[in-house]
Symmetry: C2
Subunit: 147 residues, 2 copies
DNA sequence: CTGATATAGTTAGATATCAAATTAAAGGAT
DNA sequence: ATCCTTTAATTTGATATCTAACTATATCAG
């Protein structure tokens, strides 16, 4: 197989894995929750960045600002985050996680244990350890390409 | 890092790579074309399956039948595929690629060369060769989990 | 044959995602 | 100070995707 075909096949496998994982994880989340929203909550809990502009969240997740606007609007509606004007920049906003948001994140983490456990049972741990650094490096290179 | 955290990180990297690749590839396709539609066209050209039921396409791409209905409806509207009732099954349909569909697929392949070339330039070929079999195996295992 | 169950496809309603256009504010150049 | 450019966020309109509910046909059990 040529290099190009391999690369193509690689992206193909990644697309399918992503879809399978997405569907499996999404199916156990509390009603109304999505992986995109969970990602935002998890980001706040893990990094504890305080109040951040939507654009920073957008670039952390590699989505457009329009996409982040959409997600954050829904999350504000369900009171998982709070959004206030940025006092230092009249164009901007600042987003922070609420107590409800933290609780919801805990709920999600708990529910995600089950499908993770299932995945662990079929997936070779060594395989994951082998794959991870390569994928991280690939992601980083593709990311640089974007600029 | 625990096994579970590694697995989680793995899915995370995969999600981001998928998004980056998706966006880059989608941006060079002819107006109106999408990766989902290209995937269907490519499937027909590579495997030459003749006329196939929508359900088979859905399972080939690991999407729901509803999703495939949506994609095929658009593709039929733009005359990239032809859809007729299945003479052997009153519930079913049969989908085949049209001459326009083949031309469109060629167009897409040509346009995809450019971003593929860029990716090739930053991505280590050996890295891809290392990754691919592991990803294929991972995909297959996750796939089995679904049933 | 008839009734229950399974399967193929669609529809409805939701979220995520993008690109392009718009609005408003910040920053820089002269 | 004024104009131009850039940046932050939103809106609009599109596709992809899911689940759940529905229709129609097929299949199987008795």
């Amino acid at each position: 197989m040529s290099d190009r075909a391999s690369l193509f096949a690689l992206f193909n496998e990644i697309a399918i894995i992503n879809q399978l994982a997405n569907t499996a994880f999404a199916s156990v989340l509390p009603a109304g929750m999505t992986l995109a929203q969970f990602g935002v909550l998890n980001h706040f809990v893990r990094l504890d960045p305080g109040a951040v502009p939507p654009k920073d969240l957008a670039s952390a997740f590699q989505v457009t600002r329009a996409t982040m606007t959409s997600t954050l609007t829904r999350m504000e509606r369900s009171e998982l985050v709070e959004i206030v004007p940025n006092p230092d920049d009249g164009r901007g906003k600042l987003v922070s996680i609420t107590a409800e948001g933290r609780e919801m994140r805990e709920q999600c983490i708990m529910r995600l244990q089950e499908p993770m456990k299932e995945a662990e049972q079929v997936v070779d741990v060594e395989e994951v350890e082998t794959l991870l650094p390569h994928l991280t490096s690939l992601r980083s290179k593709l990311d640089n390409l974007r600029d």
